[in-house]
């Protein structure tokens, strides 16, 4: 049986170094599910997110802050992540939006029941705006 390739120690499954493939387990998406509202009512970034499990697929709907109403970004499929190679509970996700004039990567993780969302934005419209990073914190009311 071939050894697993690793890029760092964390890629190994404790006690099974050198062993081959394991059965694929589905990831429990439940910890990420729900409507997450920004703690900061004066936020200028993401207003709220809806995260759902659609037939085992993680989907994210995002609303950005706006005036007078939040701006819907639409729905994208997101990728869930666990806390380790042998674990099966989602603790983080990554999603990508392409708005045409800008691309936004959402890099998000749970910290207890706080959802932290880091948005990495790159403009592609020649407007001269700098690529920027913005962090927002969310809770389920």
């Amino acid at each position: 049986m071939p050894s697993l390739q690793i890029s760092r120690t964390r890629d190994t499954i404790a006690g099974t170094e050198g062993t081959g493939p394991r059965p694929v387990h589905s990831v429990d998406l439940a910890p990420l599910m729900g409507t997450w509202v920004n703690f900061d009512s004066a936020a200028t970034g993401i207003h709220h997110l809806e995260i759902a499990d659609r037939n085992g697929q993680l989907v994210v709907r995002t609303w950005g802050t706006g005036s007078p109403e939040p701006q819907g970004w639409g729905e994208v499929v997101a990728e869930p992540f666990t806390d380790g190679v042998a674990l099966h509970t989602a603790v983080a996700f990554r999603a990508a939006y392409d708005h045409g004039f800008a691309r936004v990567m959402l890099a998000s993780y749970l910290n207890k029941r706080l959802l932290v969302v880091d948005a990495y934005t790159i403009f592609q419209d020649g407007s001269g705006r700098s690529p920027y990073f913005q962090r927002d914190h969310f809770y389920i009311p």
Binding site: L4, Q5, I6, S7, R8, T9, R10, D11, G20, P21, R22, P23, H25, V27, T44, G45, I46, H47, G64, T65, G66, Q71, W73, E79, P80, F81, T82, D83, G84, V85, A86, L87, H88, V91, A92, R94, Y97, H99, G100, F101, A102, M105, A107, Y109, D118, Y120, T121, I122, F123, D125, G126, S127, G128, R129, S130, P131, Y132, F133, Q134, R135
Partner: protein
């Protein structure tokens, strides 16, 4: 200037745009993991190579560290007006696993998130890490 936006922070507040360039040099240097026992990334060098912002990472391994080599990185500022780099993203594709680095600096500390997706059918779960670095 009337520009597209999907949130308030995207909007310009009247100042002239600065060409969309972000200076990564405030992040340059050798960053060491605060956790000496980490099973993840042990250290990173952020630098410029042929006018390209690069990250060079070394990860935990035995008996030697895993040298990940260099990857192009994208610098991010704190807002659309700023040109001072304070965050970056980069991608390492090792074939069997793809690792996305998403990092920001704050108060002299670099906070690094990695999002790791296996592509080798090994049954390993895709996983997330969060680690802290000092210069």
């Amino acid at each position: 200037m009337d520009v597209s936006s999907v949130r308030l922070e995207d909007r310009l507040a009247g100042e002239a745009p600065g060409g969309g360039q972000v200076d990564p040099t405030p992040m340059f240097g050798t960053w060491h993991n605060t956790d000496k026992q980490t099973g993840g990334i042990v250290r990173m060098v952020l630098a410029e190579r042929n006018s390209i912002f690069i990250v060079h990472a070394w990860a935990a391994g035995f008996p030697d560290l895993h040298d990940w080599g260099e990857a192009a990185a994208t610098a991010h500022a704190a807002n659309v007006h700023s040109h001072e780099g304070m965050a970056f993203s980069a991608v390492y594709d090792f074939g069997f696993v793809e690792t996305i680095l998403a990092a920001y600096t704050k108060s002299g500390i670099l906070v690094l998130d990695t999002f790791n997706t296996f592509k080798d059918g090994s049954g390993r779960s895709n996983y997330f890490t969060r680690e802290f670095f000092y210069r």
